[in-house]
């Protein structure tokens, strides 16, 4: 009996194997599967054209490639069907690990939490397509360059989810939290210190921030700045209010971990949180008193899904909206039940070098010129050694591009287009290392440090889609120029653990790969500034300080001067290389055909979540 059974098992296995064969053949033989709408076909054709083009013209600069590629994807979904009443939008939060769940704009640290926050809260000021503050938000503003002030006026009738009115006192509260001496999040930086009185408040010398002048009715707030420069209008001042009445009595130290942040957060966005399964999913319901109007959907469910499973999940109609992997995109170019929209992200990936420490007491970065990676030639060689272009083309199918600077194509006006960046040049890398004295003495194929001691670089990188392939490829690239690079802890690091280690300057890490989504403002102060905790490289230099000070000064109202300083900054960054920018990216989002009025900027600059509609009760399969 047993024998018969095992034989049966074998047969089944072999049969299924052949079935697998034939299926794959079918797929390769049919040239294009019929697609439902003509739009999708167009996208595909255009896509192919562009491929030919890029082959014929391989010299197109990366920033041009980005714009070209992005033009192939529409920004808003096309859906002309009549919409239904209500319905629940199923949103995928594409992540390899659970989300941290720090659901407070002052405390959240990663993009996953930011994506959740977008559904239930918004900044009180809204921004136009150039990321400049406009008058369409919950508050309007006017500014006075000479007096160095911004005056905010809150609209009437904006309510928190618990029914309390949103006042500008809530914004003052947000400032008081961020600038508090016990605050350990990322948001406290140079742009906060630029507000009059913050320094005294942060040092504990004052109970209030003297530069925040609130009117009697709490509906008008005047913010006094020390320096008044254009960046301030590009997201350069804090505009995320948090409810003072809700957090009453909770010390700043405990806020990030408090249940009011983790499981019962409130905001004043289009949807309110109904239920949170920590790390897994968040259920939202419509907020009827939303100030822009009653949302059309009944609710939204955001669920974590592994990137590998997104294509299958979209085909089965398990989600309405999911960020789609650019790596998997070529296999799913002609979807029948969903469509793609895309945009150039304000994201750049980079390889950063750990060059110092964060001083918690003084709140500043301390550069250590004796640190392991302090050798400039070494850092440059590491940059030149990696073939990022091949990575972008083969792994990301041309939807990521070699980054030449840390200013993304989305901020094209400030971008230094003349910079070549760290292109693949192993010979130059070898030469740089030779000059710096890193020479292979014992003949094992790896270089020793200038003192002749074995030299190993510990590199932290995150786990994720195909991360092991990319990591292996980069390690190979570095090995080719003679650098021995080992993974931190011998393996890829899980997202949350990675940032935990990088943020706290784990001494074991010499080098790390991460990515930043820059805010609206490309001002380098927040990511690379002397006093920014988010400057994970901990690198500071006089040139950097001087340029950043200029960009954050009233001289910057002269746009020519500002542009010049941005160019200087990018050149200096290239020269001093505290980090090597590696890739820019286009994001594509798969949207089920039942969704209407969804666009890529829905929660980015334009608040239109309340306008999203559905045209069928369940996702189309």
């Amino acid at each position: 009996m047993k024998k018969v059974f095992t034989m049966f098992l074998l047969v089944v296995l072999i049969a299924s194997a052949f079935y697998g064969c034939s299926k794959s053949k079918d797929n390769t033989n049919t040239p294009t599967s019929p697609s439902s709408t003509s739009d999708e076909k167009d996208v595909k054709n255009e896509k192919e054209d562009s491929k030919e083009e890029s082959q014929a013209e391989p010299t197109a600069a990366p920033h041009e490639q980005a714009v070209e590629q992005a033009a192939l994807f529409p920004e808003e979904v096309v859906n002309n069907n009549p919409s239904i009443e209500g319905g629940t939008l199923k949103v995928a939060l594409v992540a390899s690990s659970a989300f941290a769940g720090v659901l407070n704009p002052c405390f959240y640290e990663d993009n996953y939490d930011a994506q959740i926050l977008d559904w239930f809260t918004e900044p009180i000021i809204s921004y136009d397509e150039n990321f400049v503050a406009d008058q369409d938000g919950a508050a309007t503003y006017e500014y006075d360059v000479d007096a160095k002030t911004i005056t905010l006026h809150m609209r009437e009738g904006v309510k928190w989810h618990d029914g309390e009115p949103v006042t500008l006192d809530d914004l003052v509260f947000a400032y008081e939290v961020i600038c508090h001496k016990d605050y350990q999040g990322l948001r406290f930086g140079e742009s906060e210190l630029n507000v009059v009185g913050v320094e005294e408040y942060h040092a504990g010398k004052a109970d209030k921030i003297s530069g925040l002048e609130l009117s009697e009715d709490e509906m008008t707030l005047t913010i006094h700045f020390k320096e008044f420069y254009p960046s301030i209008l590009v997201g350069g001042f804090w505009t995320n209010a948090i409810p003072r009445h809700y957090y009453e009595g909770i010390p700043v130290k405990e806020m990030a971990a408090h249940e009011k942040t983790r499981t019962k957060p409130i905001g004043f966005g289009a949807f309110k949180v109904k239920n949170i399964v920590p790390g897994e999913s968040v259920e939202f319901e419509r907020f009827d008193d939303y100030w822009r109007g009653k949302p059309k959907l009944d609710g939204v469910v955001v669920t974590v899904v592994n990137p590998d499973l997104v294509p299958a999940a979209m085909q089965e109609g398990r989600f309405d909206v999911a960020e789609f992997s650019t790596q998997q995109y070529p296999n799913y170019m002609n979807p029948t039940n969903y469509q793609y929209i895309g945009y150039v992200q304000t994201v750049f990936s980079y390889t950063g070098f750990k060059l110092g420490k964060w001083d918690f007491d003084k709140s500043e970065n301390i550069y250590n010129p004796k640190s392991k990676m302090a050798n400039l030639n070494l850092r440059k060689a590491i940059g030149y050694a990696v073939d990022n272009d091949t990575l972008a083309k083969n792994i990301y199918n041309g939807l990521r591009f070699l980054a030449t600077t840390v200013i993304t194509p989305r901020h094209g006006t400030y971008q230094h287009k003349g910079l070549e960046g760290y292109t693949y040049n192993p010979e130059l890398a070898k030469q740089l290392l030779d000059e710096a004295g890193f020479i292979d003495i014992d003949g094992d194929g790896y270089r020793e440090d200038p003192n002749g001691k074995p030299f190993t670089i510990t590199w932290a990188t995150m786990d994720g889609e195909n991360a092991d392939i990319i990591a292996q490829f980069k390690i190979q690239c570095w090995a080719d120029v003679g650098l021995r690079v080992e993974l931190y802890n011998g393996r890829l690091t899980e997202f949350n653990a990675f940032y935990e280690a990088v943020e706290n300057d784990d001494p074991a890490i010499d080098m790390y790969d991460a990515a930043w989504q820059t805010g609206y403002d490309p001002n380098p102060a927040s990511l690379w500034g002397h006093f920014s905790p988010a400057n994970y490289t901990r690198y500071t230099s006089d040139t950097f300080d001087a340029i950043i000070n200029d960009i954050s000064s009233d001289k910057a109202w002269d746009s020519e001067f500002l542009n010049q300083r941005y160019h200087d900054w990018q050149e200096a960054f290239f020269e001093e290389a505290p980090a090597i920018p590696t890739l820019w990216r286009i994001g594509i989002i798969a949207v089920n055909n039942r969704v209407k009025n969804y666009n890529t900027t829905a929660s980015d600059i334009e608040q239109s979540n309340h306008l999203i509609e559905l045209t069928a009760p369940e996702p189309i399969q």
């Binding site: 095992t6 072999i14 194997a17 794959s24 083969n394 392939i469 490829f473 802890n489 011998g490």
Partner: protein, 308 residues
């Protein structure tokens, strides 16, 4: 009472007569006979030998550092003349990976089985032979260890060790694998040590260690061999399973588990059979082979089940 004694005497007489005429066959002979008789076991045995032979010879020709080298220009190539089994998502040849992977998996399975066997035999013999307080102490420790959620511990340990490779992996798996073995051997030893030959040997003043390893051990050897053979298959499965779940060997150490793991990506499952099918088939075939041979060995060890 009288009758029983008579019967016993009669029994021993019969036994003695038998011994006088035929030498009892050795265990190895019995196993061989059993395998020869069972065609399935014979084919399995030969097939397993062939696989081992091919894998170990073949993997000698593969350059390990070359095999794991990522080549982005050759991603996901279907089988062709150059790459008989195609390439994976990082452009690495699947055939050489299969050789190295199979070798690593087999090494791990054998390593774990043998190490577990050695520790289990030692602890089991000591515990069972001395009995009493020593037995009690050892068994309570074993009870405690057996109570731990093994799989969870392995996963935690694997994710904590900074540099792990085939060797550390064997160590971790062994750390939890020997407990069952020790219990089994202890039970058998307990049974044996109450028999007359042990008592006799003790009276003659033989050292305990000699009795344990020269007299008791050979008597329970057949049982141990059966158990270890069947365990070999289980250990191979455990390694593959852990690696499949992502808690096994690192990316650049191919094993059958890492190869089968390609199937966890739906596209590979549906469209790129060459990435996961050969390894899956190999594992099924090897497990079945070991099991069939194991069954034959088991029958040989038990007079009641013996076919020949």
């Amino acid at each position: 009472m009288e009758k029983k004694k008579e019967a016993a005497i009669l029994d021993t007489k019969v036994q003695a007569e038998k011994n006088a005429y035929t030498q009892p066959p050795s265990f190895a002979r019995l196993v061989w006979k059993e395998i020869l008789h069972d065609k399935f076991a014979l084919v399995s045995f030969l097939l397993f030998l062939a696989i081992m032979f091919t894998v170990f010879i073949g993997s000698n020709y593969a350059d390990a550092s070359e095999v794991v080298k990522v080549n982005l220009k050759l991603m996901n190539q279907p089988p062709s003349k150059e790459f008989p089994l195609g390439t994976d998502a990082s452009g690495r040849d699947m055939l050489t990976q299969l050789f190295l992977g199979a070798r690593n998996s087999i090494l791990i399975a054998f390593g774990v089985t043998i190490l577990c066997g050695i520790i289990g035999i030692f602890v089991g013999l000591v515990s069972g032979f001395y009995g009493g307080r020593i037995d009690n102490i050892i068994m309570r420790i074993l009870d405690f260890l057996a109570m731990l959620p093994t799989l969870m511990f392995i996963i935690v340990i694997v994710s904590l060790i900074p540099k792990y490779n085939v060797f550390t992996f064997i160590m971790v798996m062994t750390a939890f694998g020997w407990i069952g073995k020790a219990r089994l051997i202890r039970a058998k030893t307990l049974q044996q040590s109450s028999l007359d030959y042990v008592q006799a040997s003790k009276t003659l003043g033989t050292r305990n260690i000699v009795i344990m390893f020269r007299e008791v051990l050979p008597n329970i050897a057949s049982l141990i061999i059966v158990n270890l053979t069947l365990n070999l298959a289980a250990n191979m499965g455990l390694e593959t399973g852990l690696t499949f779940l992502g808690f096994g060997l690192p990316f650049n150490t191919p094993s059958l588990g890492t190869l089968i793991r390609y199937a966890s990506i739906p596209e590979n499952m549906q469209k790129r059979y060459w990435q996961w099918l050969p390894a899956s088939l190999l594992i099924v075939v090897m497990m079945l082979c070991i099991n069939f041979v194991g069954q034959a060995v088991k029958r040989a060890a038990d007079a009641k089940q013996r076919v020949v």
